[in-house]
Every structure is written in C-alpha cells, then in structure tokens.
Amino acid sequence: MGFRPKHSLNKVFEIIKNGDLDNVVFSVPEKSTISVISVFSDTKPKSYSQAVEFILNGVLSLREEDFVHRQCLFADLSCIADVYGVNYESRPWYVKFYIEDGKFLEQVSFHPPEREMITITGIKIPKGDYTYEKMRKLWIKRTK
C-alpha cells in the first residue's frame, strides 16, 4: 500500500530535534526500546534512556531510499504508518512510525526484521535476530 512515504522525513526529524520529550511516544515499547535493550544485553548493555537515544539517532539516519511501504494500522484509514528498512550500527532494523495531529511522533517499531525486507530502491535488508520476541515466546511456553 503506497509507494511513497505518507509522512515527510523532514517533519519527523523536526519533531525529534525539537527536543520536546513528550512529543515522541513509544507506543509499543516491546517492539522498540525493550527490543533494543534485548539485542544489546550481552554486548553493549543499554538503559532505557540509551535505547531511546539509539532509536532516535537511527530514525535520524533514515533516507527516503530506505522506505519500504505504507501500512494501515488497526484497520483505521486515518492511521497510516511508514515502514522503513535500514542497516544501522552494523545491524538490520525494521522501523515503523506515524505522525499524529501534526506534532506527535508515534514510534511503533524499531527492532530486528522478522523477515527480509526490500526497500523501494531495491536494497535488501536481511532478517535479523529478534532476541526479545524469541525470549518472550520461551517465557510464554514455560509458564503454560
């Protein structure tokens, strides 16, 4: 759905650089900050503030060429997110966000891709090691 981003990257960058801490919302931490913490837990352990900084710098590194597709969330046509695939800090990442009310950046996902992605410019972003998701599934299995 959609071959061009719904949300301007310049607007996204402006919200992040504006520095209003409450205008950037991580609406599913398990798919963003918690996931980043799990990925780095045995190499470069991160606190939540460091995970936020990592993600925001990752988003700031995006270019239009990294765009993959648009995605309608929750069957709500007014809620369209942009999905990007990017190699950042030597790892592949699945990135999804949307802007709400013209001023809130809703960071939905920033985690290793669950499957290979291809950007609009044909760059292949490989499947990553989604550590947190694997751990979560293991915990669910153990508690059953």
Partner: protein, 145 residues
C-alpha cells in the same frame, strides 16, 4: 497519543507499574518494586511510554535493583551468619565492591544479582559456594552414574 500502538484501543489510562517486569541493560528481567505511573491499554496491557517516561523507568529500575540487592545481602548475612568479608570471598568479589552494591553506589551485574538470589534462597547454597567446597567425591559419584 490517542490509541494503543499494539491493539488500537482508545481505552488508555495511567496505571501503577509496581510488580511489572522489564528487561534492563544485561538483566533479562527486573521486577519494579517502587511505584511508577505509565499510560497502559485496558485491552492488551501494552504500556505506552514517552521519552521522559523512559528516564523515569530507568530511575525506578535502578532503585529496584539497589533495594533488592541490599535486601538479598542482608538476608544472606543473617541466614548464613557470615560477615561481608566471608560473603565477598564466596562470591569471588572484593569486599569494597560488595559494600558498594550493598549501599547502592553501584548496580551489580545480572550474574552477581543471580548469585545473591541463590545464596539468599537456596538450601545449602552458602556452604556450596565456599571456594574450598569438596568437589571430588561429588564428581566421582556423577561419573559413576
């Protein structure tokens, strides 16, 4: 934010996260033992966090680890009737480091925290953790099947 990023529900309100579990640094899970209010979805219990909420979460996690570590060391000293110096020898760390994690000046690694949990709650764990603990008979017994 108007809706949950996980399920799309608009039923969100601030709820206390005490008792919930979050990974942090090298810890796969830290249980929050202090009060902290975050927006939570009533439908799927997904927590929605702003940038400043993440800073608060770091603070509460550090407090939770400090409180739990200090309590675990206190429990081990009481249960095993040992001194901090003896405990530091069993744990393979310096007495200064043990003192620092007990007072909350430093956070222990996840491995150290797990060792303290085992020493505090495991039956015979303190005597087993003695560096001079006799192993040969036990290994022979295991090898003999």
């Amino acid at each position: 934010m108007k809706k949950c990023g996980n399920c799309g529900s608009k039923e969100l309100s601030k709820r206390n996260q005490k008792g919930k579990i979050f990974p942090w640094r090298d810890y796969p899970a830290v249980q929050l033992i202090a009060d902290v209010m975050f927006m939570e979805c009533h439908q799927c219990n997904n927590v929605v966090l702003s940038v400043s909420d993440h800073q608060k979460l770091d603070e509460v996690i550090v407090k939770s680890i400090q409180y739990a570590t200090s309590s675990l060391i206190g429990m081990i000293l009481l249960k095993s009737k040992c001194t901090q110096v003896e405990l530091s020898i069993h744990a393979g760390v310096s007495k200064e480091y043990l003192s620092e994690i007990k007072s909350g000046r430093k956070q222990p690694s996840f491995q150290m925290f797990t060792l303290l949990k085992i020493l505090a709650f495991g039956k015979d764990a303190f005597s087993i953790s003695d560096p001079k603990y006799e192993l040969i008979d036990k290994i022979d017994e295991y090898e003999a099947g």
